[in-house]
């Protein structure tokens, strides 16, 4: 009787195993994700916040199924080090802001058999990166949201021209060419072309390091310039406070890139709404975490580009905003941030 019992139970067990294998559905995926976020440059806080908020909306709850390692790094050398740390920690995705951060992350993953996906939330001109073949189909492990910071350099110059049609000389601090900042170099080229079209003399001021920003800001004010423009240049952004201070002191219009930079005291800026860009980056990261291949995901353009004006700065430097330009302003900041 016991043998029959064991035999019959064995048959039942086999049947259940076969049934489970054939018909049972796998349990829902309860994966834990880790994302390394590498930020270089000021003004990306809203973007990072937008990114994590959108990820939460998409079902990635920090502490439950996702963990973030957010690193704000200004030193270019430290960018690569941090990226290497992310790779060593085997993160599922690296999210970066700024072209140098994207470059560092790409170099850290280069040579990997299965390279860690990289999603940039801000990159001046993605096509400058060798890893990216085209906007439609990047082809490698890098994709993200372009910032148009380089492209919009021309528009910033045009804004200065609109503010003051008689503007003749515009200063442009930029990362020294030898540093190899692709976006910064591209911004300079675009600025040159635009300046030529607009009939403006572009005066370039190379910046060697972050500490150099203060000195460069001082040198600018010693020159006879009518305005200051910045390009897609994260090193200069990191030292923006110096330029803001000098611009206000010398009553020079300063055209920048982001809302945050205008809030810091720059007169006017045109660039993506970083909170929206951060959300766009999250949508891209979601696709990748759901199994998508970065190389197949087209690079996104910021959904929202905003024209921001600091009314307080305008008053301080005594500039009147033309009505036609005022109509285009999306956001007016009333006071400079402390």
């Amino acid at each position: 009787m016991n043998r029959i019992l064991i035999f019959a139970l064995g048959i039942l067990g086999v049947v259940f195993v076969v049934y489970y294998a054939l018909f049972a559905r796998p349990a829902a995926d309860a994966a834990q994700y880790r994302i390394g976020i590498l930020v270089r440059g000021a003004g990306y806080e809203a973007a990072v916040e937008g990114f994590t908020e959108r990820m939460t909306e998409l079902g990635y709850v920090e502490g439950e199924n996702i963990a973030y390692d957010i690193q704000f790094v200004s030193d270019r050398e430290k960018l690569r080090e941090t990226a290497d740390q992310f790779v060593a920690a085997d993160v599922d995705l690296i999210h970066v802001y700024s072209t140098p951060a994207t470059e560092a992350a790409y170099e850290a993953t280069e040579g990997m058999t299965d390279p860690t996906p990289i999603v940039f939330g801000s990159m001046g001109d993605p096509l400058l990166l060798p890893a990216i073949e085209s906007i439609d189909r990047p082809g490698g492990n890098v994709t993200g949201v372009a910032s148009l910071s380089t492209e919009l350099t021309a528009r910033r110059l045009a804004l200065l021209k609109e503010l003051d049609p008689g503007i003749a000389r515009v200063a442009m601090p930029h990362t020294a060419r030898e540093a190899g900042d692709l976006a910064a170099n591209q911004s300079v080229e675009i600025a040159r072309e635009a300046a030529e079209e607009l009939g403006i003399e572009l005066v370039l001021f190379p910046v060697a390091s972050q500490a150099d920003n203060a000195a460069v800001a001082t040198r600018i004010t010693a020159e006879d310039v009518d305005g200051i423009v910045v390009g897609g240049d994260s090193l200069v952004w990191n030292g923006l406070a110096s330029y803001v201070e000098q611009a206000i002191t010398e009553k020079l219009p300063l055209a920048v890139f982001s809302v945050t930079q205008v809030e810091q005291g720059a007169l006017i800026g045109i660039g993506p709404d970083y909170a929206i860009s951060g959300r766009q980056s999250a949508d891209i990261a979601n696709k990748i975490l759901r199994g998508g291949y970065p190389g197949d995901i087209p690079i996104a353009i910021p959904e929202k580009i905003v024209l921001v004006l600091n009314a307080d700065t305008a008053q301080k430097i005594g500039i009147t905003i033309p009505p036609t330009l005022m109509e285009q302003v999306d956001l007016v900041v009333d006071r400079a941030s402390p």
Partner: protein, 575 residues
């Protein structure tokens, strides 16, 4: 003890058997039900996907047409920039869905324009449009969908104008999506609901024409089926468990979705889940019925099993009793065998005694008879009539005694198996005739009519003449002895098929019915025979039966008191 129903079902074996067959019932049900349900779902998915593909093809065709027209115009402008105005005007005029078009440079400056101006809107801020920058990067695209003041959904189609491989200008065309709404509505039937979302999951076109507000419009991106299409870029076939959802009207729907080419949009087809899977109800009902039937069969099986158990139990009890009885029987058989052996021994001793006693008595009694015979024949002198009577009486007594002794000796020889038979094949007729002749005188003396009816053709039989003579003589003697004067004794001999039949019938005193069963036993004499005051040993019929059975024949007796007796025996005819 027979198991009661509750006890039976609490037995481990019963629980196991029940659980085992229940499990098989469930498994067998699942083996066909689950695939059947899957097939129903697959069929519904296929149907909905066909609908979605059809809708997508129609919508895609319209979009592609618009896209090609603008692309062609961009090519024309690239080749002949000075004719940009005319190209634009022609483009807008030839395409009813095109509201207006503009040629824009990298700085966002409008270089040429055609078509109706946007109602109440200032010129576009191309420098802030992502669609422009995307086109400047070389990617033609449909921009964000927005609602015009009259509620029509429009979108900007932006196409790069490539000259010498570089993109310095783009064509921005405002396209009315009203025609797409008409397409979707025309495809929608009563069962289906079709809607189109943009890349953010905001519904822009529905099958009933209702269009969500786009600014701050509610997104349906939370629906897994929408995510599969918009985020993963895949076709959602509705077969995933979370592809069904509750729609805005509170109805649970089954949905499939397909991405729309040239855009980041998705097209979704909804159908009432109950209607889509109506056949599942049939399958479920069928499965339920089969399960109930299975349960019924199981119940019947269990009841039969219980009955068998009860019978089994009873059988075991009976077998135990039988075993006990068998043991008892064996014991009694042994006892009986012992007693039988003992009786046989006693019987043999008795037969020996009778044989010896009879033998020892016959000689002196024979001597006494000869003495009486000598006295009767006058050798010892003349007897007076009284003396003669006494001597004759004495003689008769000795003759009777000798007869009894002879019979006893014959019986003893029969029982000891010393009654030798010399079988010969012959006819019984002469023997019967001889017996009739010998008995005739006795019959006449008693005033009895004796007749013999011998058939002309009597088959021969194989018999011992001496022994058969004893039989016939005994039967004839009994008939005459127990028939009163004036009666009749009839003998008959005939062939009867493969047998020879002999009978003696008389009209004598008969034998009482209650004693008929003992007529062939030793020393039997019927009560009325005793009253008839005739002599006899009671051994005659015992001898007759024994002798006839030794010849392979059988003997029968019929009798009725005061009417007569018929004794019949048959012998197998000789081959």
């Amino acid at each position: 003890m027979q198991p009661s129903v509750p006890t039976f079902f609490l037995r481990r074996r019963t629980i196991f058997v029940t659980a085992f067959f229940l499990a098989w019932l469930v498994i067998l049900e699942l083996v066909w039900v689950l695939p059947a349900l899957e097939r129903i779902k697959s069929a519904a998915s296929e149907l909905s996907l066909q609908m979605a593909e059809n809708a997508r093809a129609n919508v895609g065709f319209a979009l592609e047409g618009a896209f090609r027209s603008v692309e062609d115009a961009a090519l024309d402008i690239a080749l002949e920039p000075e004719r940009a105005d005319k190209v634009l005007t022609r483009l807008v005029e030839r395409n009813p869905a095109f509201v207006n078009g503009a040629l824009v440079d990298r700085n966002g400056t409008e270089l040429a324009r055609a078509g109706a101006a946007r109602d109440g809107a200032a010129s576009r801020e191309y420098a802030k449009m992502s669609t422009v920058y995307l086109a400047l990067a070389g990617t033609p695209n449909f921009g964000e969908v927005y609602a015009t003041p009259d509620g029509t959904p429009n979108a900007l189609l932006t196409v790069p104008v490539k000259a010498d491989g570089a993109v310095e200008r783009v064509l921005v065309v405002e396209v009315s999506l009203e025609s797409l709404g008409a397409i979707v509505q025309s495809l929608t039937g009563g069962r289906w609901n079709i809607y189109v979302t943009d890349g953010r999951g905001v519904v822009i076109i529905t099958s009933d024409g209702f269009i969500e507000p786009f600014v701050g419009g509610e997104t349906v991106l939370a629906r897994p089926v929408v995510q599969r299409v918009l985020v993963d870029g895949q076709v959602a076939d509705g077969l995933a468990a979370d592809d069904a959802y509750v729609d805005g009207r509170g109805k649970r729907v089954f949905a499939v979705g397909v991405p729309i080419p040239l855009t980041t949009w998705g097209l979704f087809v909804e159908r009432d889940e109950r209607e889509a899977f109506a056949e599942r109800t049939v399958v479920a009902l069928l499965a339920g019925m089969i399960f109930l039937l299975g349960l019924l069969a199981l119940a019947v099986a269990l009841w039969s099993y219980w009955r068998l158990s009860v019978l089994n139990e009873r059988l075991r009890e009976i077998l135990a009793e039988n075993e006990q009885a068998a043991k008892l029987l064996v014991a009694r058989d042994l006892e009986l065998n012992e007693k039988n052996a003992r009786l046989q021994e006693l019987d043999e001793m008795k037969s020996d005694f009778v044989s010896v006693a009879a033998h020892q008595l016959r000689t002196p009694i024979t001597g006494i008879r000869w003495s009486f015979y000598t006295l009767l024949d006058g050798s010892a002198g003349i007897l007076s009539p009284d003396q003669e009577k006494i001597v004759r009486d004495g003689m008769q007594v000795t003759v009777n005694a000798i007869e009894l002794i002879n019979d006893l000796l014959n019986v003893a020889r029969v029982e000891e198996g010393r009654f030798g038979y010399q079988m010969e094949k012959r006819s019984l007729a002469p023997l019967v005739e001889s017996a009739v002749q010998q008995a005739a005188a006795r019959a006449r003396e008693k005033g009895i009519t004796l007749t013999a009816d011998i058939a002309p053709e009597v088959p021969e039989a194989t018999f011992d003449r001496e022994k058969m003579a004893i039989v016939i003589d005994n039967l004839l003697e009994n008939a005459i002895k127990y028939t009163p004067p004036g009666g009749r004794v009839t003998m008959s001999l005939a062939g009867e098929g493969a047998r020879v039949r002999f009978s003696v019938s008389d009209t004598g005193i008969g034998i009482p019915k209650a004693e008929l069963r003992k007529v062939f036993t030793k020393f039997f004499r019927a009560d009325n025979a005793m009253l008839f005051q005739t002599t006899g040993t009671g051994l005659g019929l015992y001898m007759v039966k024994n002798i006839i059975e030794k010849h392979g024949g059988e003997v029968m007796l019929e009798s009725e008191e005061r009417k007569g007796t018929t004794v019949t025996f048959t012998l197998p005819a000789a081959p």
